[in-house]
Structures are given as structure tokens and as C-alpha cells.
């Protein structure tokens, strides 16, 4: 089937198209340069056209989500929608059921959403949920930062063996890339402890976060994986944590990247939670400046925001000790889920409020980051959904980034507490994102960062993932109309996925299966085999499942989209 999307105003930063009136053509699910006369015409004259959105960091499928849903029926009861002829019933606000997750992303014009934390032992669960989520492609990141084998090898400096292990485990878990969460800290949580800073060793293993991060990054580059290491640093959410954040990025600066497409060797996730100055919640202030300054001066790092949206939500992370701290702080129901030999995790509901000084400051810090980092290619829009807010708020975050007026208004009329203005520089930042910048931080940048050469842009050969919004960039001022920006980005005029129209006029018109997007390294098989043989006795002794039953079988990951990587050694 051939289509021509006619006369839209196109923003496609990878191809340096900045608001040109242009046709976009696609055929059999791919973007093409020309189509025949038979092509079906979709008239989008003067409407805003972008590649479909890519979310670089979200928690949407897997065991943590499921604990959340199971123990928060109060959240599920928000956002209930009956079935229609096309869609299944929806439930949930911050932790929607799987069908709702797919529909809601699709309605916002998103086509690819990264699941940010997969414990290998329960990877099957993640893939089962991906099967249940419709309409988006999902690359899962596999957790490595507290894995016992990695801790041991990092201690011994066995980089090639780590590379072999990572390569094998990406296949075993059907994962896309390397995720690190509170390295050494989540292992310490196995004993109810934590580590502080990147040089505080894990109990027993006697290895530091610095060693683990560097080792995994070197292995990542040895394999030449499409994505860099993806890190949630130590000390999340602690006042005074910004030096840990800077040290984490800085300890990477001599590591050479091994990828044509991406620029970074480290992706810093939900940076908002890692940019606090001060010593306690009483004297906390923004620590954005030193972090933004570092990022502005160095090109080996990219980040995403982790923007607080001021909603009642559900926090969930593999950072087990952090969640316990949060429980002590709020007294709200605490869930925890430690995974043998691999990681920890925890959950606590959280009620962010604009009346609360700390939450308001957090809100300001996220925006400050996005506005103080000069190069939008280094920034991605996230809310670490659902941690700082549910993903359905992305359009609202866009509206804040696009309008200084709106931000000032929120601070002036007390939609946020005075701390937002007093303890951060947000009030002084009059930078405003334009549509090109928004397309950069939600499409083009993520594509580069993840090595998704086939998506995030509208060049010939790319998959036809396209979003059209009901805004006319030439007749519309986003700096003055925040509410309309939010509304338009929440309800795409069209969402096209692999050349199929899934959303029209803000409604789901078609439901398709999501693809499991994963990486497979080729040319490292011998090393993988060797390392598997070496660790198998240990595996059999200390895991409680048989290796044979641990592996994610192919049928859990259908349909798949596989990025093959040639290990260039």
C-alpha cells in the first residue's frame, strides 16, 4: 500500500528539516522518496508533522509494574474506560493496564518506548507484558549493575569476559541494551544497606560503582552496542547528590565510543533526581548548574529529564534502598522485590503536589536542566514514568518547555510553591523550545542516542512511524497557548506505525501487535560459550531455577525487531 501525507509542516531534525511544507510518502511500511499515482492521499495541509515519538526511558512492562497494579487498585480505578468495537477496556492512571499503555502512547503519537529495567530472572514476565501491550515497539534494557557475575568480573578487571557475559545475557533476556541502577547499592540492599558515592564499595564484593560503571561501559563499547550504557547513578533523590552525578559522568570521559551513529558513551537517566544541592530536605537547593555546565562542556554524555508533573503517582525502581528511604519519609505502603544474584527493586506510591515546597523545587529542577543544557540533542523528554509522573503528561511537559509565560504564571499564581522560584534559577530562564527542539528531544535525539537508525526520522528507508498533530505551526504561538499545545500533543490527528494508521482524530482506529526490539551481537559466540561454561557451576548452585528454564524462549518475543551488531574487536 502506498500513501502520501500531503502538505504538512514537517519537523525532522535528523534530516535538518525545520518546519518545511512537504509531502511525506511511504510504501509497505517504509518511508520512500516517491510513490506512484495510485498512492492514497492523506491531506494534512498546514498541520504539524513529525516522526513518531520515541521514549528513551519508561517503566511500562514487567514485574515491578505488576506489583504496582496488584497493590494499587486505587490507581487502577482512575482512568477506567469500557471496551469499544476496536479497543479493550482500560484501567489505571500511573500504572495503566497493558492495553491502555499501548493506546495512550499511540494517541500521543509515540511509536517506540523503551522499557528501562528488566531483571534477567524475570525477563519472561516483561516480554509477556510487551505481548499484551499493543501499538508500540518496545526495546527492553537489561539490568547489569548489581549482577554478581559483573561485580566479580569488574573487581578482577575482566572486561572481555564482561563483554561476553553482556552479549550472552542480551540474547538470554531478549534485551536491547545495558542498564545500570544504583551500582553496588542495590546489592548492598540485599543486606538492608546502601552505598554512597561512586567509591563506596559493595559489601563482600568489595568493588565500587566507579569500577562497575567503567567496566560495563568498556564492555559495551567493545561490543559496539547501538546504545551506550544507561545509568541511574548512586544517591538518587538525596540532597547534596550532584557531585556523585558529576563524578559518575566524569569517570567515563576517557572511554572511547565504538558507534557511528550515537555520540555518547553514557546516558544519564532521570537527571532531575540527581541534581540536588544542600544537606537535607530543609536546606536543599537546585544543583543543576554544575551538572548542566559539565554536560555543556562534554560530548560523551546525554541525559533525560525525569520531569516531575505534580501528580499522584507510583514510584518504582531497581534502586531498592531509595524506595525504603521514601517509605520512611512518606509512610505510604512500601513494596520491595529483590531478585537473586541480580538486583533489588522497590515501590512506593507518591503524591506530588504543587503546594509542597520540595516537590515544587523538583518540578523546577527538571525544567531547569532542559533549559540550561544548551544542546537539545543531549536532552530527552521523560518523566521516568511513572516515577516523577505518568507518561500521559509528556504533552504538558512540552507545553512548559515551550512557554516561559506559562512557567512564570505557575510560579506567580502559586500553582507551585515559592521554593520553585527561590531555590532554583528557573524564573530567570526565558529560553523557549520551538517545535524543532521538541522534535529533537522526543524523536531525533532519542534515535541517535539509541542507535535506532531506522526510526526517529523521515528519510527514505526509515520505518513509516509518523505523527501528525492538530496544530498549524505557521498560525500558532505555542509560547502563549500552553493548554492547546498539551491538548494537541495528547491527541494526535494521525499516528502512523509501520505505515498503518493506528490513530485518527485522537481515537484508536486500529490495534496491532507491539514488536520486541532487541540487540543481537554476532561474532562473539566463542567468548559467550566460554564464559557460560565457566559460570555454569556457580549458576546452578546459587540460582533457584535451571538455566534451561531461565532463558527467554523465542515465543515470548514475537514479533521481534532485531538489531544485529557485529562485534568489532
Amino acid at each position: 500500500m502506498e500513501y502520501i501525507l500531503k502538505n504538512g509542516i514537517v519537523y525532522d531534525p535528523i534530516n535538518e528539516i525545520n518546519g518545511e511544507k512537504k509531502d511525506v510518502m511511504f510504501k509497505d511500511g517504509k518511508i520512500v522518496n516517491s510513490v506512484s499515482d495510485d498512492a492514497k492521499v492523506i491531506d494534512v495541509t498546514d498541520k504539524l508533522v513529525m516522526p513518531a515519538g520515541i521514549d528513551v526511558h519508561c517503566h511500562l512492562a514487567g514485574p515491578k509494574l505488576c506489583v504496582g497494579r496488584l497493590y494499587r487498585p486505587e490507581d487502577e480505578r482512575r482512568g477506567v474506560k469500557p471496551k469499544t468495537d476496536i479497543t479493550r477496556p482500560e484501567t489505571g492512571f500511573s500504572i495503566p493496564n497493558c492495553p491502555a499503555t499501548g493506546y495512550r502512547f499511540s494517541k500521543m503519537g509515540y511509536g517506540t518506548v523503551v522499557e528501562a529495567a528488566v531483571p534477567p530472572l524475570e525477563a519472561k514476565h516483561t516480554h509477556e507484558e510487551i505481548i499484551a501491550i499493543p501499538n508500540i515497539d518496545i526495546p527492553p534494557l537489561t539490568l547489569f549493575g548489581n549482577n554478581w557475575f559483573i561485580l566479580q568480573f569488574a573487581k578482577e578487571g575482566r572486561i572481555e569476559d564482561i563483554a561476553a557475559f553482556v552479549s550472552a545475557w542480551l540474547k538470554i533476556t531478549k534485551g536491547y541494551g545495558v542498564k545500570i541502577v544504583n551500582p553496588c547499592g542495590s546489592e548492598a540492599w540485599g543486606w538492608g544497606m546502601n552505598v554512597h558515592g561512586i567509591d563506596d564499595p559493595a559489601p563482600y564484593w568489595d568493588v565500587t560503582a566507579r569500577e562497575v560503571i567503567r567496566a560495563l561501559a568498556q564492555a559495551n563499547e567493545m561490543l559496539g552496542l547501538p546504545h551506550s550504557i544507561h545509568i541511574h547513578p548512586n544517591d538518587l533523590g538525596h540532597p547534596g547528590n550532584f557531585p556523585t552525578t558529576v563524578n559518575t559522568i566524569d569517570c567515563m570521559k576517557d572511554i572511547k565510543k565504538n558507534s557511528e551513529y550515537r555520540n555518547q558513551t553514557i546516558h544519564l537517566t532521570h537527571a532531575q533526581f540527581h541534581c540536588y544541592d544542600g544537606t537535607s530536605w530543609r536546606d536543599v537547593t537546585s544543583g543543576v548548574e554544575p551538572v548542566a555546565d559539565y554536560i555543556n562542556k562534554h560530548d560523551h554524555v546525554t541525559m533525560d529529564m525525569g520531569q516531575v508533573t505534580l501528580d499522584e503517582t507510583t514510584t518504582m525502581t531497581a534502586d531498592g534502598p531509595m524506595e525504603y528511604d521514601l517509605y520512611e519519609l512518606t509512610g505510604l505502603k512500601w513494596a520491595n522485590k529483590d531478585i537473586e544474584l541480580e538486583t533489588a527493586s522497590g515501590l512506593v506510591p507518591f503524591i506530588y503536589s504543587g503546594r509542597n515546597p520540595v516537590h515544587s523545587l523538583q518540578w523546577a529542577i527538571g525544567l531547569e536542566l532542559a533549559l540550561m543544557i544548551e544542546d537539545p540533542w543531549k536532552v530527552c523528554l521523560t518523566t521516568d514514568s511513572p516515577n516523577a509522573g505518568p507518561f500521559i503528561r509528556y504533552p504538558r511537559v512540552m507545553s512548559w518547555l515551550m512557554s516561559y509565560q506559562r512557567r512564570a504564571e505557575m510560579m506567580d499564581n502559586k500553582e507551585v510553591h515559592a521554593w520553585a522560584g527561590r531555590k532554583s534559577a528557573l524564573g530567570t530562564l526565558d529560553r523557549e523550545y520551538d517545535f524543532y527542539d521538541i522534535a529533537t528531544i522526543t524523536r531525533a535525539g532519542p534515535s541517535k542516542i539509541y542507535g535506532f537508525e531506522d526510526r526517529g526520522h523521515l528519510g527514505a528507508g526509515a520505518i513509516a512511524d509518523i505523527a501528525v498533530y492538530d496544530l498549524e505551526p505557521n498560525n500558532f504561538d505555542p509560547t502563549r497557548n500552553a493548554a492547546e499545545v498539551e491538548k494537541a500533543f495528547s491527541n494526535a490527528l494521525y499516528t502512523i506505525k509501520d505505515g498503518q494508521i493506528l490513530v485518527k482524530d485522537g481515537e484508536i482506529v486500529k490495534v496491532v501487535s507491539s514488536k520486541h526490539v532487541r540487540t543481537e551481537v554476532e561474532g562473539f559466540e566463542d567468548e559467550e560459550k566460554r564464559i557460560l561454561e565457566e559460570i555454569m557451576p556457580f549458576f546452578n548452585r546459587y540460582y533457584t531455577v535451571k538455566f534451561e528454564n531461565y532463558v527467554v524462549h523465542d515465543h515470548y518475543a514475537e514479533p521481534s525487531s532485531v538489531y544485529k551488531v557485529n562485534a568489532s574487536k
Binding site: 471496551k83 493496564n97 491502555a100 530472572l121 519472561k124 540485599g190 537473586e340 533457584t544 528454564n549
Partner: protein
């Protein structure tokens, strides 16, 4: 047990099968096969082996329908499926109950069918760990996978459960006896504690047995919490346990490196129901101020947790989900099976991979005598005595592969060892057929 000579006459061994019995989901079971028959089982406990080495006399092998004399009559698959589909399509308030002894793969079409006809879907959690789920929703859920306990725990507490009877390899494989990474001497590196009014088989193995009184669980946990918070106990004896002993035990629990609390239906089935679990969970949360503690409910069937997980990710609610309004509703006491039967609301009851005849109170079963019952199962059981349509399924983990979730939510792919009997059909196939046929009937009546 009498000595049984080892089985030597077999064609092949299928290794690392998963036992489809209790929530321990032991995945190290070897099945010995001869001529497509199971002739022996290795590594499974008595319970697991008994299921795998089933009694073939009572295997449901053919579809059946009751005739006007109330006798079951063998029919072909089409007739049986059409009859079942007709009942379901014509129902006003159907309930689809069970699912805990089948695979996730079979649940998928089951949920589709539920959405299609606006039924209530529910599983065995409704009569076992339902209160646990409610408690978790009240206060939280600090848990772990079983390997954490194996590798780290130096104190293991069982309460309201008797694993030596209900989960026989739980202690041996996961918690007490195995040599863990940080517990190289296995049993000798751990303190095993049982809180149970009865001197159960598990208590007999324990280092410490705390026989609190019947229904004394709440007060006992409360007392430990009080001591933890530095409060003076005002009574000399609480729930039958002397105050000094409570204080001493609390000290011990505080001074472990890694403690794990496992609880069973003994807690959920006494009068305070979910409140007992509330306080046990809070106790574990309090202990984390001092040292590492985790807990886990001892789930009974091998996929009872799987159903709750499956429903949570598909529809946001764990069990007792009512689709009669086109969207899922979950109201404990309202949309849950026993309550629906007690109120005589349900008009067609489908049971799959469960045996309400053996597990529901007579007061609830009485209603099943008044309405049509469809049974999908592998054995003739008490429920068959109340069933009007019987559809013979296959044995997950032996004859059919599929996914299950262990009590600690670790997903396990259960492989198959032999082919199912020719006349039986996989649960997934049966439910899919029902879905197709009901869809047709619904469309025809539009």
C-alpha cells in the same frame, strides 16, 4: 513408605521439567518416559510425584454431557463445545472460575471470552490468599525471590503454614537446608522458626517453635511490633507466650542479618483474615529499620500467582474481576465467586483447572446444584459430580508446555514430556474454541 525399587525400564528421561503442583514450582524434576507414558519421576516430592504419576482410572478422556436422567454421556467434541458455548452465550451472569492449574497461554483466550460476554473471572486466590492480596493493598508488599533467601537468610520463619505438608521441598530447595552463597553450611547457618498453635511437621524440624494460641496471631505480631518500637509489654503472657520470650525472640529477629517470613492460609483463614496479614507485613517493614527482612505468602497452586499477575497486567486487577459493564470492576465481597454463589447471582458457572467441589463450602456449592456447570479439567473429581458439560483438558507441565509464575513471581516455562491422550485437548485450544463459537452465536443474535 515402603521401599520402592528404582525404575530402570524407560526409554528416555526428560530433564528439568517443572512440577505442576504447589507454588514451589520445582523446575528440576526428571520425568522417566516409556511408550509415551510416565513411568517414573525423580526429584519431585511425594505430592509432586503423585500428581505426575496420576491415577489413570479417573482421567477424563472424553467430552461428556448430562442427559435427561442426569447421567453423563460421552459425546464428540463439537457437540460438547457447542453445548458449552450455547450455555455461555445465553448466560446473564456467567462466572469463569479456576485457572490456577493451567498455563498463562490458556488464560489469554479465557480473558477474551470474559470480555466478550461480560462475565466475572476469578481464581483460587478468592478462597485462599485473597486476604493476603487485600492486606498487600492496605500496607505494602516487601518480598524477594526465593534465591535471596537461599543465598542470604540466616533466619527463616514460617507461620500459618505447614510447608512440610503443603510445599514439601520448600525448606529443602529454597529456604532452610540448601547451601547458599553466604550460607555455605546450609541448615547449620540458619535458625528455623515456626509460629503455629500446632506442633506441626514443620515445627518438629524447627529450632524455635512458638505455639501461640488459636487466633492469637494478631496479638502476637502486635506484641513483637510493640517491643520493636521500644514499648513495655503490659501483660505477662500474650497469646499464650510469656512476655520474656517475646522480648527475646524480638531481639533475635533484630539481630539477624537477613530474615524471611513465610505465611500461609493459617493466617488468612482465621477470623481477622486480612488484618492478620496487615500486621505481619507491617512487622517486616518495621524490622527493616534494623536489618534486612522480607516476606512471602505461601501460594498453593503452581499458577495461582500467575493468574493474579496475568490479570493485573491485562486488566489492572488481580482476581474477582467483573466485566458485566464493559469495563473491569473489582470489588471484594461483591464481584468474587463465593459471594456471587452465596447470593445466587451466577447463572452459568464454568470451572477450569480447579475443583470447587472439593474446596467450596457447601453453602456456596448448593447454588451450583441449581445452575448449569461446565467443567474443563483432567480428572474426574468432586466437581464432575456437579458438572453438566465436561471437557477433558491436558496436563500442563507433562503433556502440554506453558508458562507459570512461582509463588515469588518468577516466571517459568514448563515444558512437556509426553504427548497428551488423543481424545483430550489442550486447555488453550478448548477455551479458544469456546471463544470462537460464542463469538459466532453472539454475532448471529445481533
Amino acid at each position: 513408605m515402603a521401599y520402592e525399587p528404582p525404575v530402570t525400564d524407560y526409554d528416555k528421561i526428560v530433564e528439568n521439567c517443572t512440577c505442576a503442583f504447589c507454588g514451589s514450582n520445582c523446575d528440576d524434576v526428571d520425568i522417566l518416559v516409556k511408550d509415551n507414558h510416565v513411568v517414573g519421576v525423580r526429584h519431585a516430592c511425594r505430592l509432586g510425584a503423585s500428581k505426575i504419576m496420576e491415577d489413570e482410572d479417573q482421567r477424563l478422556t472424553v467430552p461428556m454431557i448430562r442427559d435427561e436422567n442426569g447421567e453423563l454421556v460421552e459425546v464428540d467434541w463439537d457437540t460438547a463445545l457447542d453445548k458449552a458455548a450455547e450455555l455461555i452465550a445465553g448466560a446473564v451472569r456467567p462466572v469463569f472460575y479456576g485457572w490456577s492449574e493451567t498455563s498463562i497461554e490458556a488464560m489469554k483466550p479465557g480473558l477474551e471470552l470474559t470480555e466478550l460476554v461480560g462475565a466475572v473471572i476469578d481464581n483460587q486466590a478468592t478462597i485462599c490468599h485473597g486476604p493476603t492480596v487485600q492486606a498487600v493493598q492496605n500496607v505494602g508488599y516487601p518480598l524477594m525471590t526465593l534465591g535471596e533467601v537461599k543465598n542470604r537468610a540466616d533466619m527463616v520463619v514460617y507461620t500459618g503454614s505447614n510447608p512440610m505438608n503443603a510445599h514439601p521441598r520448600h525448606l529443602a530447595r529454597y529456604t532452610t537446608f540448601p547451601k547458599g552463597f553466604f550460607r555455605k553450611r546450609g541448615r547449620f547457618d540458619r535458625t528455623l522458626v515456626t509460629w503455629d498453635p500446632k506442633y506441626s511437621d514443620t515445627a518438629k524440624l524447627s529450632d524455635i517453635w512458638v505455639p501461640f494460641e488459636e487466633n492469637g496471631d494478631y496479638a502476637f505480631c502486635n506484641a513483637i511490633r510493640a517491643v520493636l518500637k521500644g514499648k513495655e509489654l503490659k501483660q505477662d503472657v500474650i497469646s499464650g507466650i510469656p512476655k520474656e520470650d517475646i522480648v527475646a525472640l524480638t531481639e533475635k529477629m533484630k539481630n539477624t542479618q537477613f530474615g524471611a517470613l513465610f505465611f500461609g492460609l493459617g493466617l488468612t483463614h482465621t477470623l481477622s483474615k486480612q488484618r492478620n496479614i496487615d500486621i505481619a507485613i507491617q512487622l517486616v517493614q518495621d524490622l527493616n529499620k534494623y536489618t534486612k527482612w522480607v516476606l512471602l505468602p505461601m501460594r498453593g497452586h503452581f499458577n495461582v500467582n500467575g493468574f493474579n499477575i496475568f490479570m493485573s497486567y491485562e486488566m489492572g486487577f488481580p482476581y474477582g474481576v467483573d466485566f458485566s459493564r464493559g469495563y473491569p470492576r473489582y470489588m471484594i465481597g461483591e464481584t468474587t465467586t463465593i459471594d456471587l454463589l452465596n447470593r445466587k447471582e451466577c447463572d452459568v458457572f464454568m470451572v477450569i483447572a480447579a475443583d470447587p467441589g472439593a474446596h467450596f463450602p457447601g453453602g456456596a456449592l448448593a447454588h451450583l446444584a441449581d445452575i448449569p456447570v461446565i467443567q474443563i479439567d483432567i480428572h474426574w473429581g468432586p466437581s464432575t459430580e456437579l458438572a453438566d458439560v465436561v471437557l477433558p483438558g491436558t496436563f500442563i507441565g507433562v503433556e502440554t508446555a506453558g508458562t507459570s509464575y512461582r509463588m515469588d513471581s518468577v516466571p517459568i516455562f514448563m515444558k512437556k514430556a509426553i504427548d497428551p491422550p488423543e481424545t483430550c485437548r489442550e486447555d488453550e485450544w478448548i477455551v479458544n474454541e469456546l471463544l470462537k463459537r460464542v463469538t459466532k452465536l453472539k454475532e448471529a443474535s445481533k
